[in-house]
Symmetry: D2
Subunit: 254 residues, 4 copies
């Protein structure tokens, strides 16, 4: 029986600022990537998010970032590998605090934003991230963009990993995500998104922007919960997967 | 055989900014209170500090604070008990990250600055702190000002604790620390400091500002490593304790 | 002819986080209190907010705060008077930067949140604020809670001021704002809010929580634009004032 | 009569953290580049630094940076031109606040660290900086690395500028600063530094790392005050200039 994980960024509110429809999205996913205070979130919000995940039986993972709150971790920053390592361990630890307080095990790590974009293409950065995770806890699963340097780094050091595909983003012929500004890079049509997801999960292939078929391995699907429309899309993806007899399961329980 | 612990704030540098003579002070103490990024320190510096403690066989503890970097955690802030709880768990977790990465066990928690001053007198704040520590890890030792609300809170919930006395600070008749601005509040004469320490450890009593003898229990002595003079003072205290046959031991190894 | 000013907090978004219905509220008010980066806002958002005010012919003022982004400036912090002075001058200057860039004159200063609450009752804090404003620019108008220590401080040093009343908040018999948690402290009924505003403006009196009539001077009315409902309330207040022949005018143009 | 300006970074302390020998260095220079809170400094420290400059008759300028306190503004960050513009205007304004409070005119702007390094080679970034300064105040002098994109940008939009040379840094044949990690990149020998300065000022030429003579225009010399040794070096440079009959004058008073 086929199984798949749905992962979603969560806990990205900050102080009085709300972001994301966490309460609506949480029951629909199997893994939550919880922001750790560097690009979003704060201690109170992290505590609430871990509790919400626990209540919904959703596996908790860390979503560490460059230290750039005002830029939401979306701007490249030239950190050294040592700085990346320390920043990641700090953020994993901080989330681990709330996991311990709530009696929840941390399952995975998915780096955020510009750090993800850097790691995807840069072997050295991916290795620094994988090593930091392994130093912190060698049983944690690193969420890696499928076919990227991230997967290679996790494999190279024997760190558990899960390959991730994107439900609503177009791929280039090289298997990279098409830049958001390119026409067609973000897919808004729900039926098309669902069809792409089913194909990636069942046939392990994706049609790239230039029309070729690219082999792709999907252990987990990245979905979004920032808007009511996004939540509706998760719901549709979930229903289609269930209808096809594919079991939704947190990546770590496979 | 009498034993005593010497605890010292460590890792309070930040980015390019150096604070404290950590390298000189570390070999002289038995417990290090490591700043966690809210009043001082950053991930790189925390990693280095945990390593330095490990190399010197010094027990590692967390030194959490109000979130006030520019004020060094020395200004009162009206946080709710929930905010205090979350802030402490976040900081304990962050330090725990580096402890895990370095294979070191966290031993204790000593809150910093204005939060310490608040807790000392305020039962509710002390309880919020004690409960946060217990939720995170019920085996951690809470460093409590001797005779204060902190000790009562730790006792009340069954959290391990160590009572702390101050080597170079004067006490009021009520057992509180005399405010730093009062004449005689900070004792600079090394011989006098050493004599007071010996009396607190051996006779379990301290002479207060108004001349009365106050019973006091010293599980750990707070020393400072911010200046070359301060490091020299630790060295003198240490020698006097050793000369009297008192064993220096981390609070958790008693 | 009677004139009145409507002031509203603006520019309280931060990075990706949106707060407030600035675009809807701006055309309805006469003075905008622009956040300066300490409790909310960031440089990009301040620039946009000053431009939006300019486009709408709304007068620009600064809305400085304690340095507490995660707490939105709503938590008391024990700053010294020198720290308050420096924090205010820094924030006024930062906003002045965008005013200069856009060719707009800064009109007023209204302190935010916990700093406002402190100043309202504390003569020393009010004086520190008033002096900081005067040092920066002695022609700026200090927005003062009517009947409070703020007004006294501005008067004492000869700083221009405007007395502020609150459209939707209940007053105690002493003329203070009733704490938000008291029943009836925040008035949600639009008709009642409008009636209270009209009475404060036309009769210079307000009915307090215990039913007495308190004399009150309203140079400017504090309105809110954080929710669609709040914007609708501004619109209703504005219409009622205009229908009564009261001219809406920025406080500095009187 | 030849004149020259000596500019030095100042006010880079933060909270309890001290950096730089400002009190010793200030009387020796003619222009102070005051940190504005993004890579270093805080409101209290900026106020003190502007006062110290005023007391010593030293001209005040802003030293704006990327928003990266923990990295001291030394790490590249991918800000958009709009973000650079807004960040610069915010910081210029903040310093302007203290200038107004102290009755001092702001003279110049010198961008800091990684932003300087970016601007030096990148025309677009230099133009964004120059335009931001001009929007804020078209009379401000932009300090530009001699022979760099910065100078071209200031010229292109008609912004006043001063070309800067470095006393203790080696130049490549292309006129760029040699990277700090290259052998010989930082010159520690005081006599050699003094000789290079004299040659740049009097002969308008500098010997590059590969031995060629590069024409260079020096309106202002960048000196450092971070260590006692650095202060001594300023003193030696100053004496040599004075002995040669070259007048030390703030760049804006020429």
């Amino acid at each position: 029986m086929l199984t798949i994980d749905l992962n979603c960024d969560m806990g990205e509110s900050y102080g009085v600022y709300n972001l994301g429809e966490d309460k609506a999205a949480m029951p629909l996913v199997t893994s939550a990537n919880v922001a750790c205070g560097f690009h979003a979130s704060d201690p109170d919000n992290m505590m609430k998010t871990v509790r919400l995940a626990k209540q919904n039986g959703v596996a908790v993972g860390a979503h560490p970032s460059y230290p750039d709150l005002v830029g939401f971790g979306r701007r490249q920053m030239a950190l050294s590998n040592e700085e990346i390592e320390a920043a990641i361990i700090y953020q994993l630890g901080a989330l681990q605090g709330f996991c311990q307080a709530e009696g929840v095990a941390m399952q995975h790590v998915k780096v955020h934003g510009a750090l993800y974009n850097k790691a995807e293409k840069d072997a050295e950065t991916s290795l620094a991230i994988a090593k930091a995770i392994q130093k912190f806890d060698p049983k944690l699963i690193m969420v890696c963009m499928a076919n990227s340097e991230m997967t290679k780094a996790a494999k190279a050091i024997g760190l558990p990993y899960a390959e991730e595909v994107f439900a609503d983003r177009a791929y280039t012929a090289q298997g990279a995500l098409a830049g958001r500004k390119l026409p067609g890079a973000v897919i808004h049509d729900v039926d098309e998104v669902v069809a792409r997801v089913m194909k990636m999960v069942q046939q392990k292939t994706v049609t790239t922007l230039d029309g070729t078929e690219l082999p792709i391995n999907a252990d987990t699907i990245c979905v979004h919960g920032d808007t009511p429309g996004a939540v509706e899309m998760i719901s549709r993806i979930r229903s289609a997967l269930e209808a096809a007899g594919i079991q939704l399961k947190a990546m770590g329980s496979k």
